[in-house]
């Protein structure tokens, strides 16, 4: 079993993300680089002006999936710390919806890990976005998470 460093950070917040505190969380003297990803609300979707967004999550499962991404990141890349924070609820244009920061002794691992973390979050973490326009609202198309194989039943 892979040991997940307890100083990683995985959060779902119903308030604005304090980007600076997330950056500070991963920063340590042993590191030489931090790569971060700031995903924020765009003012249009497929050419229609966006009024605002609403995010909802299967919170317990989403946190489990975010921690699994953490395990994969530490298995695959020589990084120090990872922080992934996703905001839920109503967000306005320009608000940060997701913020990821990765620290590492050397930059290449931090770039690769950050890219892997956001790409995997978008495919596997149960969070949903509803887009509100002047003439109505739609759930974003989204991605279908990979279907798992049938697992043997644990003996009861």
């Amino acid at each position: 079993m892979i040991h997940l460093p307890t100083d990683d950070r995985f959060e779902l917040l119903h308030r604005p993300i304090d980007v600076e505190s997330v950056m500070q969380h991963v920063r340590a003297d042993q590191d030489g680089a931090i790569v971060s990803f700031d995903g924020f609300v765009r003012n249009e979707s497929h050419g229609r002006p966006t009024l605002h967004l609403e995010y909802e999550a299967y919170e317990s499962m989403a946190l489990t999936k975010m921690r699994e991404i953490g395990v994969q990141v530490h298995e695959s890349f020589a990084i120090h710390r990872l922080a992934m924070v996703h905001r839920l609820g109503r967000l306005e244009v320009g608000d940060t919806s997701v913020f990821i920061a990765v620290s590492a002794p050397h930059r290449a691992a931090a770039f690769d890990a950050c890219r892997f973390a956001i790409d995997t979050l978008k495919k596997t973490v149960p969070i949903w976005k509803k887009e509100f326009f002047a003439d109505g609202a739609v759930w974003a198309d989204g991605e279908i998470p990979p279907a798992p194989p049938v697992r043997a039943e644990p003996a009861s």
Binding site: M61, V125, I127, G142
Partner: protein, 88 residues
Amino acid sequence: MPTVAPKLRVKVIFFGRIRELVGRSEELEEVVEGATLADLFDRYAAKYPQLAGFRSSLVASRNQEFAAWETRVAAGDDIAFLPPVSGG
């Protein structure tokens, strides 16, 4: 005399467009022993015909893990039918 299969109680949780379609966030359901996630979904699809059209885009979960449709449910399970995810 036919044996009556024992009933299991599970919690079914709804999100996004599925929550809106069903009109609630969660409910307790009773299923017969041996029922699969697909059986449970089919019951909802019978009650809410629009759901059937979503089936190919949904992934089922059992106790906070993605689960194959053939997975059998057990008493006390948390079950969800998850629409395509769109976080980020």
